[in-house]
């Protein structure tokens, strides 16, 4: 089969690999029909995530058709169209039994601090991902679910991470009716977080980014107010000014490890790998939220330390909430919103590329070329 393969920082290519085989009785092998490149894939691509090995196939957002199932699989059969959450989880450990599917303890030997994620380094379990023609899906009775007949395949692939994570970010904010919500980052997850904030009753939603084309999308897609931080000497002061010096009730960090806006922070983290991530957006979030407010972190950071302004968070009495999204727990409510027409996830897709063009796809997304917001990968075309 053809698969995207990591060749070192900033380098990927397509190679021939063996079709994955059943390695556990509850495995399934899925033929991928749509995959996506996620903003967090860029952390791997840029060599920021420890234990990212040459030869690994990335891709944690994908849907497809069941090709083969293991001997203990009861709920899926070959031919089923399935959507697969980016989390790999057993469904039965202490954490899964309490709904913390993204924190499963039975699927990642390499680390206890993070669960299993498809195609996301050995730090997240060493599983190959779905930017390929086929992928191994562990715990087929627990993770994947049939795509509802009424759901478009491109909407489904966005439910496997970006939409679920964006909604989760708003949910972590514990938004109350009338709250002012600031979202740092107008990428796919930030756009979905902004849209979800309205569903939870926000009175005002402000999206902050540096790219005008993405802010335009935030106005159209998420009906949000927008601020380009490059137009302000100090974005924290601007956030105070626009909230009558109170600060926002809830701030969502939808940027993560490669946040820009501070040369020192960005270069030390993204280029020199001396931090687990560049905490520019997180520090802006801490300083822009009101005292007693909530900061929700859904941007991904590496496991190494980062220079976070924890003193400000403590002195302001903030609630900091964060996690990898437990995707499948979000689905029933999200499916209702999609069916009711409140959410149309595929509206954010800007590019569709064949798997063979994956190297250009990564560069385009990384360098923010051609108005790129979300790129889907279509294997076999």
């Amino acid at each position: 089969m053809k698969a995207m393969v990591y060749r070192g920082p900033y380098k990927v290519r397509v190679e021939e690999k063996d079709i994955p085989s059943i390695e556990h009785p509850n495995d399934a092998i899925v033929r991928v029909t749509r995959a996506a490149i996620c903003g967090s894939d860029l952390h791997l691509y840029h060599g920021m995530m420890p234990d990212t090995r040459v030869g690994m196939t990335f891709g944690h957002e994908f849907v497809g058709v069941v090709h083969e199932v293991g001997s203990s699989v009861e709920r899926l059969k070959p031919g089923d169209r399935v959507m697969v959450p980016f989390n790999i989880f057993c469904g039965s450990c202490w954490f899964c039994a309490r709904g913390l599917y993204s924190n499963c303890h039975n699927v990642n030997p390499n680390a206890t601090a993070v669960g299993g994620i498809y195609g996301y380094s050995h730090t997240c379990g060493g599983y190959d991902g779905g930017q390929a023609e086929f992928v191994r899906v562990p715990f087929a009775d627990v993770g994947p679910a049939p795509i509802p007949d009424w759901m478009d395949e491109e909407d489904a692939v966005l439910c496997t991470d970006a939409l679920a994570t964006g909604y989760f970010g708003a949910q972590l904010g514990d938004i109350a009716e009338g709250d002012t919500v600031v979202v740092f980052g107008a990428g796919p997850v930030g756009l979905f977080a902004a849209k979800s904030a309205w569903l939870m009753g926000a009175g005002r939603v402000i999206v902050v980014d540096q790219l005008d084309y993405r802010l335009e999308k935030a106005r159209q897609f998420a009906q949000a107010e927008t601020v380009n931080f490059t137009e302000h000497d100090d974005i924290v002061v601007a956030m105070k000014q626009t909230t009558d010096y109170l600060g926002a009730d809830v701030v969502i960090d939808a940027v993560g490890a490669e946040a820009d806006g501070s040369f020192l922070q960005h270069v030390s983290a993204a280029k020199l790998k001396l931090q687990g991530g560049s905490p520019v957006a997180l520090n802006w979030a801490i300083d822009s939220v009101r005292k007693g407010g909530t900061v929700s972190v859904i941007g991904a950071y590496g496991p190494l330390f980062s220079a976070v302004k924890f003193g400000d968070a403590m002195n302001k009495g903030l609630t900091l909430r964060m996690n990898q999204c437990p995707v499948k727990r979000q689905w029933p409510r999200l499916f209702e919103h999609i069916r009711d027409g409140y959410l149309k996830p595929s509206d954010i897709v800007t590019h569709r590329i064949p798997l063979e063009h994956i190297a250009e796809g990564y560069h385009m997304f990384s360098a923010k070329l051609d108005g790129c917001i979300k790129t889907l990968v279509v294997p076999g075309t």
Partner: protein
């Protein structure tokens, strides 16, 4: 873009310095008219995972208390914060070469709480890349930094117009990218040329 108001310097005119209302009022009908679905999840009970940490092991679909164990086909490196090897794990790219030695040492010696664990793994990643690049030159498909970086997308994905006239924050460090990506290749190339010259000089003697 949202206009940002400036202060007139009188703090008594601003919300942060006054008690405000106990509950902010919003124009629900106007918001619903403008934003489809506004307030659909305003009741926290409608949001997933409410209440938090609800104990319900049957909700996941798991039909086991502890999963069957996946065969361990090679000694699988694991965090020493685990009690043993978890039952299911990825089998992509087993450790190999010098980078593999470093990875195994990082896992065997240091917990996730130690910076040495992560710094060794990052060092192993860089070594792995160079081991793989060198190994690729002994194959029919050597690494090609032009095609593998996807840099040709600069030409057909509007590299110039995506940057010119834009106030992008990455312009301050854009000059670093060629150094980070191409620098090691140029250094390695220069080293190879120097080694070849030195060898030729030695033979000429």
């Amino acid at each position: 873009m949202t206009p940002i108001p400036k202060s007139d310097g009188d703090v008594s005119r601003h919300a942060a310095y006054l008690p405000g209302e106990p509950n902010r009022r919003v124009d629900r009908e106007a918001l619903r008219a403008r934003i489809p679905g506004w307030g659909a999840d305003v009741d926290p009970a409608d949001r997933p995972s409410v209440p938090r940490l609800r104990y319900d092991p049957s909700a996941s679909g798991a039909h086991w208390e502890f999963p069957e164990r996946q065969p361990e086909r090679w000694p699988r490196e694991r965090s020493i914060e685990h009690a043993g090897l978890p039952p299911v794990f990825g089998t992509s790219t087993p450790p190999r070469g010098l980078s593999g030695v470093l990875r195994r040492h990082a896992y065997a010696r240091y917990s996730e709480g130690r910076a040495a664990h992560w710094l060794l793994l990052i060092a192993a990643d860089r070594i792995d890349a160079w081991e793989s690049h060198l190994a690729s030159f002994a194959t029919l498909r050597p690494d090609n930094p032009i095609t593998e970086t996807g840099v040709l997308a600069e030409f057909d994905r509007h590299g110039l117009s995506s940057r010119i006239g834009q106030r992008r924050a990455d312009r301050s460090h854009l000059w670093l990218d060629p150094i980070v990506v191409a620098g090691p290749w140029l250094l390695a190339g220069a080293g190879a040329v120097a080694a070849a010259r030195a060898l030729r000089r030695r033979r000429a003697r």
